[in-house]
C-alpha cells in the first residue's frame, strides 16, 4: 500500500464521517432533503459512470431505466400492494428493461451506443407519456408513500447514505474484479478482446445488467423521496444531466459521480433561486470542463496537486484504473 492509496483512504474515511454526522450538525430538513437528493443522483450517476468509465459505453438512456423502476413502484402502490411487492415489481421491471437495453445495444459502441440508448430512453418516455391507463400520462403518479417511518427526513437520509455506500462499494468490487478488467479491455480494443476469445456482446450485456440494476435502485430511492413520478423523469434531459454529472465529477473515478451530482443538484436547486439562467451556467461549466479538465473534478485535482508539488502530472502509478484522458471511448481509428 503506497502513500497515495493511504491519502485516498483517509479522505474517503473523512468524507464518510462528515456524511454520517450531517444530521447532527443541526441542519434543516431542507438541507437534509437536498443531501438525500444528491446521494440518490450520485447512485444513478455511478451506474452511468460504471458503464462509461470501465465499459466505454456512455448511455443517454439511464434516466429512463430509473424512471421505469419508479413507475413500477408507483403503479404497485396505486394498486394498493405493500412495499415489499412494490420493490419486487420494481426489481423485475428494472431487470427486464435493462435486459432489453443491453440486448439492443450490445453490438454497438461509441456514438452508436449513445444513440441506441437515447432512442430506448425516448421509447420509455413515450410510453410514460401516452400510456396513461398505467402511468397516469402527463400528470404522472403522485402520493407514493415510502414504507414505515422512512418519510422522516433524517431516517431516509441514512437509508440513502447506506445504499449509496453499498452500491458504490459493489461497483468498485466489480470494477476491480477480472470482469472489470475485461470490460476495460473491451473499452480499449474490442477487436483485440474478440481475437483473444472473449464474447464481446455477452460482456457488454452483463455490464449493462449490472449498471441497469443500480439505476433501478436509484429509481426506487427517488420515488420514495419525492413521492411522485412523471414522464419528465424519463426524458432525455434527465439522462443528459446524468452524463453531465459523470463528466463533471470525473468519468471512471470512484467519487466522481458524487461530486458531479453535488454540483448539478446544487446548481439546479440552490443557484436557480439566485440566478434565472442556471442552465446557461451549467452549460458553460460543462463546456469548460470538457475543454480544460477532461478528467473531471476527481480526476483533475490530483493532477493539479501533483503539478504544484513539481511532479509530472503523467506520473500516475501503474494500474491506474481511469482512462488516460478521462474519456473512455476508443479512438475511432482503432475500431474494427
Amino acid at each position: 500500500m503506497n502513500r497515495r492509496m493511504l491519502v485516498n483512504l483517509a479522505l474517503l474515511g473523512l468524507l464518510l464521517v462528515v456524511l454520517l454526522a450531517l444530521p447532527y450538525f443541526g441542519v434543516s430538513n431542507f438541507v437534509l432533503g437536498l443531501a438525500s437528493t444528491i446521494l440518490i443522483a450520485a447512485v444513478l450517476a455511478s451506474s452511468v459512470n460504471f458503464l462509461g468509465g470501465d465499459g466505454g459505453m456512455v448511455s443517454l438512456g439511464h434516466g429512463a431505466i430509473a424512471a421505469a423502476s419508479a413507475y413500477a413502484v408507483g403503479w404497485a402502490s396505486r394498486q394498493g400492494l405493500d412495499s415489499m411487492t412494490q420493490v419486487l415489481l420494481a426489481l423485475v421491471v428494472t431487470l427486464v428493461v435493462s435486459f432489453l437495453y443491453g440486448l439492443l445495444s450490445m453490438r454497438t459502441s461509441g456514438i452508436y451506443f449513445l444513440m441506441v440508448t437515447l432512442a430506448l430512453g425516448m421509447l420509455i418516455y413515450g410510453l410514460a407519456f401516452r400510456l396513461s391507463s398505467v402511468t397516469g400520462g402527463e400528470n404522472g403518479i403522485s402520493g407514493i408513500a415510502a414504507p414505515g417511518n422512512l418519510h422522516e427526513e433524517w431516517i431516509y437520509y441514512y437509508v440513502v447514505l447506506g445504499i449509496f455506500v453499498i452500491t458504490t462499494g459493489a461497483l468498485w468490487v466489480v470494477s476491480s474484479s477480472p470482469f472489470g478488467a475485461s470490460l476495460r479491455g473491451l473499452r480499449d480494443s474490442e477487436s483485440r478482446m474478440r481475437s483473444l476469445g472473449y464474447s464481446v456482446a455477452q460482456y457488454k450485456l452483463s455490464a449493462f445488467m449490472i449498471s441497469g440494476t443500480v439505476a433501478g435502485i436509484a429509481g426506487v430511492l427517488a420515488v420514495w423521496h419525492t413521492n411522485f413520478v412523471s414522464p419528465s423523469s424519463a426524458g432525455v434531459e434527465r439522462s443528459v444531466l446524468l452524463v453531465v454529472m459523470v463528466i463533471l465529477g470525473g468519468i471512471g473515478t470512484l467519487l466522481g459521480p458524487l461530486i458531479g451530482a453535488a454540483v448539478v443538484v446544487l446548481v439546479e436547486n440552490v443557484l436557480s433561486s439566485y440566478v434565472d439562467r442556471w442552465p446557461t451556467a451549467l452549460g458553460l461549466i460543462f463546456i469548460l470542463v470538457i475543454l480544460f479538465a477532461r478528467a473531471g473534478v476527481a480526476g483533475s485535482v490530483p493532477k493539479v496537486l501533483a503539478k504544484l508539488r513539481g511532479r509530472s502530472p503523467s506520473a500516475t502509478p501503474p494500474g491506474d484504473r481511469s482512462s488516460p484522458e478521462g474519456t473512455a471511448v476508443p479512438d475511432r481509428n482503432h475500431n474494427p
Binding site: T108, M115, L118, A119, L123, V243, T280
Partner: protein
C-alpha cells in the same frame, strides 16, 4: 378512418412534416458524414433560427427576409462554435458530442431569456394564405410550399455534391481526409464550412417550420430526436437516406397520430430500434 379525403390529408400532413424533417436531417447527416460529429446542438440552431425568423417576419412581414436573417445569424453562431470550441476537440468522438450538448444548453436557455417561454408562430402576414381545394380536400398552400422548399433544397444539395468542385472536395473529405489535405485542401476550413451550412439548414427549417408548428422552449430536443431518428434510419451521412427517412417518418408519424395517438412516440422509435439492430448502418448508410 379510411375515407379517401382523410387519407389524402394525412399523406399531405406526413409529406409536409417529412419536408420539415428533411431540412433538419440533411444538415445533421452532412455534418456527420464529413466530420463524424453528432451535432446535439442542431435542435438549438433550429430553435434560434425559428425565433429570429418569427421576430423579423413580425417586423417586416417578409418571409424571405426572415429566412435570410435567421440563416445568417445562426450560421455566424455556428461559425463561432466550430472555430472557438469544436476545433479543440477535433477527432475525439465523445468530447465533440458532449461539447455540442453544452452548447445546446446555453443557446436554448439564452433563447428562453430573450424570447420568453410562450409558443410563437410565424405571423400570418408572412405566410402564404389560402388553401388548395380539390373536391372535399382542403389543404393549406403554406404546407405545400414547405414541401416545395424541401424538394428544392434536396435537389440543390444533390447538385452541389455531385456536380461541383465543392461537392467533390466534400466527398473526398468523407472518403479520406488525410489524402485530401495532402492534396492541398485545408480540411479544417472545409469542416467549418460544412458545420456552418448544416446550421444554416437548421435555421431555414426553424423559420419555415414556425409556420407549421410553434416555436417554444423544449422544441429543440423534440426536433433533434426526430432528426436523429431520420438519419439513423436513412443511414448516417447519406442525403438520399435522409430524404427517404424523412418521408418515412413523416408519414408514419402522421398516421400514428391519427390512428393510434397513445403509441405516437413508440411508432417512431420502434422502427429506429429495429433498423439499429438489423442494419446498424441504416438503409442507405455504407458499411464502415
Amino acid at each position: 378512418m379510411f375515407e379517401p379525403v382523410f387519407l389524402a390529408q394525412q399523406v399531405l400532413n406526413g409529406l409536409s412534416f417529412g419536408a420539415l424533417l428533411f431540412l433538419l436531417a440533411s444538415g445533421l447527416t452532412l455534418v456527420f458524414g464529413l466530420m463524424k460529429i453528432v451535432n446535439m446542438a442542431h435542435g438549438a440552431f433550429y430553435l434560434l433560427g425559428g425565433y429570429i425568423g418569427v421576430v423579423i417576419a413580425g417586423l417586416t412581414g417578409n418571409l424571405l427576409l426572415a429566412v435570410i436573417t435567421a440563416v445568417i445569424v445562426v450560421a455566424a453562431t455556428a461559425f463561432i462554435v466550430e472555430v472557438v470550441l469544436l476545433r479543440f476537440v477535433r477527432g475525439q468522438e465523445l468530447p465533440e458530442v458532449l461539447l455540442t450538448i453544452g452548447v445546446s444548453f446555453v443557446i436554448a436557455d439564452l433563447c428562453l431569456a430573450v424570447f420568453g417561454g410562450d409558443p410563437q408562430n410565424l405571423p400570418t402576414t408572412a405566410t402564404i394564405p389560402g388553401a388548395l381545394m380539390i373536391g372535399d380536400l382542403v389543404y393549406p398552400w403554406y404546407r405545400i410550399f414547405v414541401i416545395g422548399v424541401a424538394v428544392a433544397i434536396g435537389l440543390g444539395l444533390a447538385f452541389v455534391q455531385t456536380r461541383t468542385r465543392i461537392g467533390a472536395v466534400v466527398r473526398a473529405g468523407v472518403d479520406d481526409r488525410e489524402i485530401i489535405s495532402a492534396m492541398g485542401v485545408n480540411i479544417a476550413w472545409v469542416f467549418t464550412g460544412m458545420f456552418v451550412v448544416g446550421a444554416g439548414l437548421a435555421a431555414l427549417g426553424g423559420t419555415i417550420g414556425s409556420g407549421m408548428q410553434s416555436i417554444l422552449p423544449g422544441v429543440q430536443n423534440e426536433v433533434l430526436l426526430y432528426a436523429l431518428v431520420v438519419i439513423i434510419i436513412g443511414g448516417l451521412g447519406s442525403v438520399t437516406g435522409a430524404a427517404v427517412g424523412s418521408v418515412l417518418i413523416g408519414l408514419i408519424d402522421a398516421f400514428a397520430k391519427a390512428w393510434i395517438p397513445e403509441l405516437a412516440y413508440f411508432t417512431i422509435f420502434l422502427p429506429m430500434a429495429l433498423v439499429l439492430v438489423l442494419r446498424p448502418t441504416g438503409l442507405f448508410g455504407r458499411t464502415a
